[in-house]
């Protein structure tokens, strides 16, 4: 009588071929490359990310005015709304999905450090946020909007970079409150409404100045003001209070942005879990 053997395995004792040095930067970029390739395979995430530029195209199309000032304000709102709808939301879903699928737990046993893992995993989303901001500017420039001038590019770029990182951090923080993907969908909504709402209201000229100054303190609202100020049309959405008189408004916007980014990063770290919520 013959019996069937289990699935054959190699009789080779080892297939190992030695050791090599892998730097932390290499590890981080390799994980980022892998995550980028996975973005293209996740239909929901892909649709979410592509919806950003389409939304701006729609906003530009229905904009009642095509003056450089109006388009600069629209750019300020567009950048924040697009990044919160795409980068932020994608960060929430990525975190929950990776955690629920136990991927974080598995990667934790690799040679990646915690910071390398987090950086590599979210870097593609942050880059997408920056690219979408550039897309917003490009779309509005095509409609007659002004581009940031030589002086404005630096704060514009700094703001978009910090804002993108901050919105990813906010997404990770929100994911920390969510037990599963379905709950995360709902958990992401309040912050999305607050961020998008504040960005939208700042660009509406009918609100009293005091209210606009308060709105500037809302998470990422200062990015709306910063983008509008630096978009080549010198649009000021908020008159800053006397307490910061003499300080360049772009710097105030950047500091507020950085502050919220640090706050969300701290919350994200506090709520971070390697394993599914029990």
């Amino acid at each position: 009588m013959t019996t069937e053997a289990p699935t054959p395995i190699s009789r080779t004792t080892t297939t190992a071929r030695g050791r090599r040095t892998v730097t932390p930067l290499q590890r981080t970029l390799r994980l980022a490359r892998f995550e980028t390739s996975m973005l293209a395979k996740q239909r929901t995430t892909l649709v979410t990310l592509l919806s950003g530029p389409l939304l701006v195209l729609g906003l530009a199309a229905i904009s009642p005015s095509s003056s450089p000032q109006a388009l600069a304000a629209l750019a300020g709102m567009g950048v924040v709304v697009v990044m919160s709808l795409t980068t932020h939301f994608a960060a929430v879903m990525l975190t929950v999905n990776r955690r629920e699928a136990q991927v974080l737990k598995r990667l934790r046993t690799s040679e990646l450090s915690g910071s390398e893992l987090v950086t590599g995993m979210y870097l593609p989303l942050a880059v997408v946020g920056v690219l979408e901001s550039l897309a917003v500017v490009a779309v509005l420039a095509a409609r007659g909007g002004a581009l940031p001038d030589a002086v404005g590019w630096l704060p514009w770029l700094a703001g978009v970079l910090i804002g993108s990182a901050g919105l990813v951090a906010a997404g990770v923080a929100v994911a920390g409150l969510s037990g599963n993907a379905e709950k995360a969908n709902w958990a992401a909504v309040p912050l999305l409404v607050v961020i998008s709402g504040a960005a939208n209201m700042l660009t509406v000229g009918v609100l009293p100045e005091a209210v606009r100054q308060v709105l500037l303190l809302v998470p990422f609202a200062s990015l709306t003001d910063l983008v509008a100020r630096t978009s080549g049309a010198s649009v000021s959405l908020v008159e800053l209070p006397d307490v910061v008189a003499g300080v360049p408004p772009e710097l105030v916007d950047l500091v507020l942005l950085l502050l919220w980014t640090v706050v969300f990063a701290a919350v994200a770290k506090k709520l971070w879990r390697w394993e599914p919520r029990g």
Binding site: P6, T7, P8, I9, S10, R11, T12, T13, T14, T15, A16, R17, G18, R19, R20, T21, V22, R27, R30, L31, F34, S37, M38, K41, Q42, R98, A101, Q102, V103, K105, R106, R108, T109, S110, E111, L112, S113, W274
Partner: protein
């Protein structure tokens, strides 16, 4: 890497300590999950950590991997403190974690290639997939793999680049018998190749089949530990039979249920007595003590747990109780 020599290791055996734990305690608030255990795992052996759910196995493994902060005690793995030299430890060890996952849109090949790109150990992805029996599924999406195939992929990551130490946390949970046999073969191969394997399992037959040494944890402490022979030595063997004297029928026959530490001697005595009296021994069975018996004795509290006192390698001989006797 530094190695330590055990003082009590038998001459002629491999004595490098790959894992050296002294007085390890892990707590969750007021609850003590691991309570001052000693444990050592020697180079090139398969060591099985057994215990009921909540016995402290996973907390112990997490402390060994630097995932869990210890409340007390010292831990050295491959000569390193896992809380301090986490990366160096990862570079020399592989882990198959309980309920690990992969990106659903990845394939076994792309998951392994990612792992390869992050690792300082070099290996051949196709060869490793071949080795765990996943070569024919290399381009199938992870979400379409069966549970057993995902475990094989997990194993592929653990053995990538032939690490010095492989930690397998309940590796065969959820595996079908065929996949389990495959994994057993692979573990034996790894051991034969000089790899040290530290595993936890609920399957006692798995420990009996694979482990050179075992430790049974209960309520955060190590109750018994040692080689299988050492662990079983203190437990009595069992002789059972139905003894029927001439003229007796099945109803009046005598049930024999003998617990003994001298199986050969007492079995011979029983047979000699039967020969002398003309008795027939129906359903005669002589069974040495099993790991399952020891395990149940630990859980029942028949074997007292030890904390920091003896090392795991010697605990068996100091803590095992004996129970000997015969019943009607």
């Amino acid at each position: 890497m530094t190695t330590t020599k055990t003082a009590d290791a038998p001459a002629g055996t491999t004595t490098d300590l790959v894992v050296d734990v002294r007085g390890l305690s892990v707590t969750y608030g007021a609850f003590s999950a691991v309570d001052g255990i000693d444990l050592d795992v020697r180079r090139g052996e398969v060591f099985a950590l057994l215990g009921t759910n909540g016995a402290g196995k996973t907390s112990t493994l997490e402390a060994l991997q630097g995932f869990r902060r210890r409340a007390a005690g010292s831990v050295t793995v491959l000569g390193e403190d896992p809380m301090i030299s986490t990366r160096r430890l990862r570079a020399s060890s592989g882990t198959m974690v309980q309920e690990a996952g992969f990106v659903p849109e990845a394939t076994p090949l792309s998951a392994l290639q990612l792992w390869a790109s992050l690792s300082s150990r070099v290996d051949d992805a196709d060869a490793v997939l071949e080795r765990v029996g996943l070569a024919h599924r290399r381009t199938v999406l992870v979400k379409d793999l069966s549970g057993g195939e995902k475990r094989r992929l997990d194993l592929a990551l653990a053995i990538w680049g032939a690490p010095e130490l492989i930690v397998l946390d309940e590796p065969t949970t959820g595996l079908d018998p065929e996949s389990r046999a495959t994994l057993w073969s692979l573990v034996r191969e790894l051991r034969d190749g000089g790899t040290t394997v530290l595993m936890t399992t609920h399957h006692l037959e798995e420990a009996e089949a694979l482990a050179d040494r075992v430790a049974i944890m209960h309520r955060g402490r190590i109750a018994v530990a040692g080689t299988l022979a050492e662990v079983l030595r203190e437990r009595p063997a069992r002789i059972t039979a139905v003894r029927r004297l001439p003229g007796q029928d099945a109803v009046t026959a005598e049930q024999v249920d003998l617990r003994t530490h001298h199986l050969q001697r007492d079995l011979l005595a029983l047979l000699t007595d039967a020969e002398r009296t003309g008795a027939v021994l129906d359903q005669l069975r002589a069974t040495p003590a099993s790991l399952e018996e020891v395990f149940h004795a630990v859980v029942r509290g028949d074997l007292h747990t030890t904390s920091a006192a003896p090392s795991a390698s010697t605990a068996a001989s100091t803590s095992a109780s004996t129970s000997e006797g015969a019943s009607r």
